[in-house]
C-alpha cells in the first residue's frame, strides 16, 4: 500500500491594520522552518475534527485565540514540492475579523503584516496569501464581505473606508450609498449616534438574515 500524503490546514487571517489589509502570521514552534513567521496551520486531526472546516476553526483558535470569525475555504495546495516532509495537501481557509477581535484574543503571539509587503514565507505560504488577497478583493467588489472586518455597529463612512482599504481605491460617497440602499442589507441602529466635533453619523448593523449579500454581475 502506498504512502498517503500529509494533510494540513492553513488559515489566512485578515484584518485591517493601520489602514491596510493585513495578514496575521505566527511563529512556527516546530520543524520545518521552526522560528520563522508563517500562516497559522496544523495537521488535520482525524479523531478530533469532523471535517476540514472544524480543523480550520480548531487550528485558528489554538494558534490565535480567535473564536468565530467569517471563515471560508480558499483553495487546496497539494503536491510533492511544497513541503520538505514530502507530498502534502494543505486545505486553506481565509478568515476576516475586525481588528478589535485580534487585540482582545491574542497574547501578542501574532505578527500583523500589510498584505502588500509580504516577503518570502515558508512553504508556499506567500502564494497562499496572494490567493486569499485576490479572492477577498474580488469578492469585495461584488458583495458585502468587508462588513466582517468591522465591529457589529459602524457608520457608513467607516464602511466605505473599509471597502476602500480592502480594494485599494477611492469610492464615490453618493454611488456607494445608493448601492447600499438598493441592496438593503443594513439597518440603522435606533437612536444611537456617534460623536465628533461635527455632525454625528447614524450607526448601522448588518441585518441578521443577510450576512453575505452578493451584488449583481453582468451578462
Amino acid at each position: 500500500m502506498e504512502r498517503r500524503p500529509i494533510t494540513t490546514v492553513d488559515v489566512v487571517l485578515l484584518t485591517l491594520h493601520e489602514a491596510q489589509l493585513a495578514v496575521a502570521l505566527t511563529t512556527r514552534t516546530a520543524e520545518p522552518f521552526k522560528g520563522l513567521l508563517a500562516l497559522p496551520g496544523g495537521y488535520v486531526h482525524v479523531e478530533q475534527d469532523q471535517d476540514s472546516l472544524q480543523s480550520a476553526r480548531r487550528v485558528l483558535l489554538e494558534k490565535t485565540g480567535i473564536k468565530a470569525p467569517y471563515l471560508e475555504q480558499l483553495y487546496s495546495f497539494a503536491g510533492a514540492a511544497r513541503d520538505p516532509r514530502g507530498w502534502s495537501v494543505s486545505i486553506t481557509y481565509y478568515a476576516l475579523v475586525p481588528s478589535s477581535a485580534l487585540e482582545a484574543a491574542t497574547a501578542g503571539a501574532i505578527s500583523l503584516t500589510a498584505v502588500d509587503d509580504i516577503g518570502q514565507l515558508p512553504f508556499d505560504h506567500s502564494q497562499i496569501v496572494a490567493a486569499a488577497v485576490r479572492r477577498v478583493r474580488d469578492k469585495s467588489s461584488y458583495s458585502s464581505l468587508p462588513c466582517h472586518l468591522l465591529p457589529s455597529r459602524f457608520t457608513l463612512a467607516e464602511l466605505q473606508s473599509t471597502y476602500e482599504q480592502v480594494m485599494g481605491e477611492k469610492l464615490d460617497k453618493s454611488s456607494f450609498r445608493r448601492k447600499l440602499a438598493a441592496l438593503d442589507f443594513l439597518e440603522p441602529v435606533r437612536g444611537e449616534l456617534k460623536s465628533g466635533a461635527h455632525r454625528p453619523a447614524q450607526l448601522y448593523r448588518v441585518r441578521k438574515t443577510r450576512s453575505l449579500v452578493v451584488f449583481d454581475k453582468t451578462m
Copy 2:
C-alpha cells in the same frame, strides 16, 4: 503517530448533451459502491503525480480517455463521514469539453446525465456535482468560460445557444453580440462560412491569448 486521511481527486466532467448541461459518470470498478455510477475519481499517486492538478488529469485520462480539457480546481470535500473507508479528502476539479471530444475519446464507458436530474450518487458526489454546476453557471455569467464547451470553430448563434443552455435562460441576440464585440476575445475565421438553406454564418474562434476572459463586475 496518528493515521493520515485518504487523499483522492474527483472530476466533474461537463459537456452539452441534448441541449442540456450534462455530467459524465463512470461505473465504479472497486468497493465501496462497486458497480454504481459515480464521478471519475481515484487516489492521488504520490510517486507519480507532481501535484493535484496532475492527479486530476491522470484520473480523467484513465477513466474517460479525455486528454486536454479545460480543467480547474473546484473545492475540497473533507471529513470523517463522506467515505465509508474513513476520514478522507477529495480535491475536486471540474472539466469542460465539447461533446465531440467525448464521442471520440471514450469506448462508451461513460454515462451522460443532465445535471438537473441527477439523483442520489455515492459518497457526497451529488453535492460535488451541484457545486460544480453552481460554479460553472456563475462563472459563465461573467466570463467566456462556455467557449470551452464548443469545438474550436463556431458561429455566434452556436455560442449564444451554448450560453443559453448553460445558464438555462434566453439571451437577447443584439445585446449578446454587442458584449462579445466589446470584449474582443473572438476572431473571425477568414473566408470560412457555414451552410444551411439560408444566409450562412461567419465562423469564429477564440483568440489564442484570451482563452478565459472575465467580464466586468460592479461596485
